[in-house]
């Protein structure tokens, strides 16, 4: 399969470059139209914050990686980019790479949950633009299957691998049914905002935000449909929350030991979770001493993150096994596409010779022998072609080494001049 691909990703390029190359949907659509017109019979583009990749089935053999690289650079001009920032793939390695991307093992965060959806979206856009034919459609189905199987048959996507999500995972280890719980997020920098979004996604019953810059709290609260308390008075309502996440950039403690003592007393026996995901810390570590308070800082959350990353890495061999299975299945299917016409052409080739020879010699035989001549010559041809036909069919049926299959097909077509003959007709 002569699929060709280029990729700029977190292995090859710094984040600034990856961000600069990120393509919007409208840009992808326009580029697909142009790619189809100039370079590809079929093609698609994946573009996320961590990767921009272009794949396609070339219209002719003259197409090189440089053509596609230059096309991308021309359409999305970014400084400092050169050929070393590109991974290049062809045939089996391209399909393998697409499968790795769909499975999430090529992602910056191994087992990334979002990438499969992004791959699907890329194919859908390409399909909308009429850039996907039956070859890439089949490839898309196989890639989605790889992604789904990786998620269901392995634990490649299990466990939190960011501090914000680890905080939520830890909360879920203490409380069940977050819909009946209330939470306060203090500080709405990037980490605090992500934590608030995770809590909202998990269906927290009541979410309240507070931030030194009130306007920012208002903006996020409006988007997430949450409550807000002024930063100056949030301490008065601490007792009302089952979960408190603090992520400010303050250099001093926001919640002191005295605050904690008051909180513990007011909460009675009800447990409170305090997540301090700020550096330096916002909450006094004395929180650990209170029986009904579960206190975790960034160090303890990092332990969870590291454990989960290790667990995910341990799952990679299982995902690779799935990828190999799907590669074999995909190339068996692809090889069968080539084999059937080759067998037919080969048989036609021999049949033409036989028919021609019989025709030229037919007058030397009487009426009774002519029929026998037909039968005998056909039998000879069948016997000659039986073994090569069976070999080719076996290759297709059992998904043998695709490189070997391609070589066999090429030799046959070359030796018997099948391609030349087909071109002539």
């Amino acid at each position: 399969m002569n699929i060709i691909g280029i990729s700029v990703n977190h292995h090859t390029a710094p984040v600034e470059l990856r961000e600069a190359l990120h393509l919007r949907q409208d840009e992808i659509k326009n580029m697909l139209i142009e790619l189809k017109a100039s370079y590809f019979n079929e093609g698609f583009i994946i573009s996320t914050c961590n990767r921009t990749e272009i794949y396609g089935i070339p219209k002719n053999n003259e197409l090189t990686y440089e053509h596609i690289e230059n096309f991308l650079i021309e359409k999305k001009p970014v400084g400092e980019i050169n050929s070393t920032h590109f991974h290049k793939f062809f045939s089996c390695s391209a399909v393998n790479h697409i499968f790795r991307v769909a499975a999430g093992i090529d992602s910056l965060f191994i087992g990334d949950n979002q990438i499969l959806g992004q791959v699907k979206e890329s194919f859908l856009i390409a399909e909308e633009q009429g850039a996907v034919g039956f070859l890439l459609k089949r490839l898309f189905d196989a890639a989605v299957r790889v992604g789904k199987r990786s998620k269901t048959e392995t634990t490649i996507s299990d466990g939190a691998i960011t501090v914000s999500y680890a905080a939520v995972q830890l909360i879920e280890k203490i409380f069940s049914g977050l819909n009946k719980k209330s939470a306060l997020v203090i500080g709405l920098g990037e980490t605090g905002e992500i934590a608030a979004r995770h809590l909202k996604d998990k269906g927290i019953g009541k979410l309240t935000l507070t931030n030194r810059t009130f306007e920012k709290a208002e903006k996020i609260a409006e988007e997430l449909h949450t409550g807000i308390v002024p930063f100056s008075s949030f301490k008065e309502s601490l007792k009302d929350y089952d979960i408190i996440i603090s992520a400010t950039s303050s250099s001093d403690l926001i919640i002191t030991k005295d605050d904690l003592a008051a909180l513990s007393k007011k909460r009675g026996g009800s447990p409170t979770i305090l997540m301090d995901i700020a550096i330096p810390r916002d909450i006094s570590p004395d929180a650990r001493k209170f029986e009904n308070i579960f206190y975790h800082d960034i160090d303890s959350l990092n332990i969870i993150v590291e454990q989960n990353i290790k667990k995910r890495k341990d799952e990679i061999p299982k995902v690779q096994a799935i990828i190999i299975e799907e590669l074999v299945a995909f190339f068996s299917w692809f090889n069968s596409l080539e084999i059937a016409p080759t067998i037919k052409s080969l048989r036609d080739y021999f049949e033409d010779i036989r028919a021609e020879e019989v025709k030229s010699q037919i007058n030397r035989f009487n009426e009774t022998d002519r029929e026998k001549l037909e039968i005998v010559t056909k039998r000879i041809i069948n016997k000659i072609l039986h073994h090569p036909t069976m070999e080719l069919r076996k290759t297709a049926d059992f998904g043998m080494d695709s490189e070997k299959t391609i070589a066999k097909i090429a030799i046959i077509r070359d030796l018997f001049g099948i391609d030349a003959k087909e071109e002539k007709t």
């Binding site: 280890k173 203490i174 650990r288 579960f294």
Partner: protein, 279 residues
């Protein structure tokens, strides 16, 4: 029929060991799609155990409550049965090995030592059968409650000290463990209440028994009953929760065990007149 009883008696420890092994393997390895598989093993063990109890009752013309080792097999059954119902009701499947190990131990001891012996005619009384079965279900309930209480304390300790090992990964969350412990305690308390009520009404009317309100078994059971009653009321009223409640549940279980040991092996209780003639 006697032969079937013997075969089933020998088979049961193996079935429990197998179920325990499957739950243990799943706890440590966390195999995907293993959940239904292990439940089938446990169901088979329960089914065979139920058949064994029925066949044994038919064969010997009395329920298997006439001696300690018969009671042990019933305890093994009631604990597993209670857990199985709990697992079905809550769909929490990661804690089975901590419960099944108890059933396994009770069944192994029972299978080794169980013998058919002469017994007191009182065992033919339906009241006694009801009293004993409800008491055993009550004890199964408080045993399961104590196991969940213990698991709660383990997870609580890991969370407090930032240890995120196997217990953290495989156990359900603290709130669920507390609920399971509390739910089991309520069932145990209700069954124990029934057992005590039947005992208090019926036992004084049996002339053959030297019934006494100062009997150590009665005092021990009364203490356990009061403790659980207090814990349940405190929890429902919102005064106590979390660690306090599960600690109380474990304390109740330990008192219940101590009371059983004391009344069976140290002090003479009128309860010994059931089992005393048989030991």
């Amino acid at each position: 029929m006697q032969e079937s009883v013997n075969i089933l008696n020998l088979l049961l420890p193996f079935l429990y060991a197998l179920s325990f092994g499957v739950y243990l393997l799943d706890f440590f390895k966390d195999f995907k799609n293993f959940d239904n598989f292990k439940r089938i093993f446990l169901f088979l063990a329960l089914l065979i155990h139920a058949i064994y109890l029925i066949v044994r009752t038919i064969e010997f013309h009395h329920p298997p409550i006439t001696n300690v080792f018969e009671i042990f097999t019933v305890i093994a059954f009631t604990i597993t049965f209670s857990y199985f119902i709990l697992e079905l009701a809550t769909d929490i499947r990661g804690t089975g090995l901590f419960i099944i190990v108890l059933s396994l131990l009770f069944q192994i001891i029972s299978s080794i030592f169980i013998r058919e012996q002469s017994f007191n005619d009182l065992f033919k009384s339906a009241y006694l059968g009801f009293h004993v079965f409800s008491a055993l279900l009550g004890y199964a309930g408080i045993t399961i409650s104590a196991v969940y209480g213990f698991l709660y304390l383990r997870l609580y300790d890991e969370l407090k000290h930032n240890k995120f090992g196997l217990v953290f990964r495989r156990l359900p969350n603290l709130e669920i463990l507390e609920k399971l412990s509390f739910f089991s305690a309520i069932i145990g308390f209700i069954m124990l209440t029934i057992a005590v009520a039947v005992g208090m009404v019926w036992l004084p009317q049996v002339p053959a028994l030297k019934f006494s309100y100062s009997d150590p078994k009665l005092i021990g059971t009364g203490l356990v009953w009061l403790l659980y009653g207090f814990g349940i009321v405190s929890k429902i009223s919102g005064k106590w929760q979390g660690k306090k409640v599960v600690t109380l549940s474990i304390a109740g279980f330990l008192i219940a065990i101590s009371s059983t040991i004391v009344t069976n092996f140290i002090y003479k209780s009128f309860h010994s007149s059931f089992t005393g003639t048989l030991q």
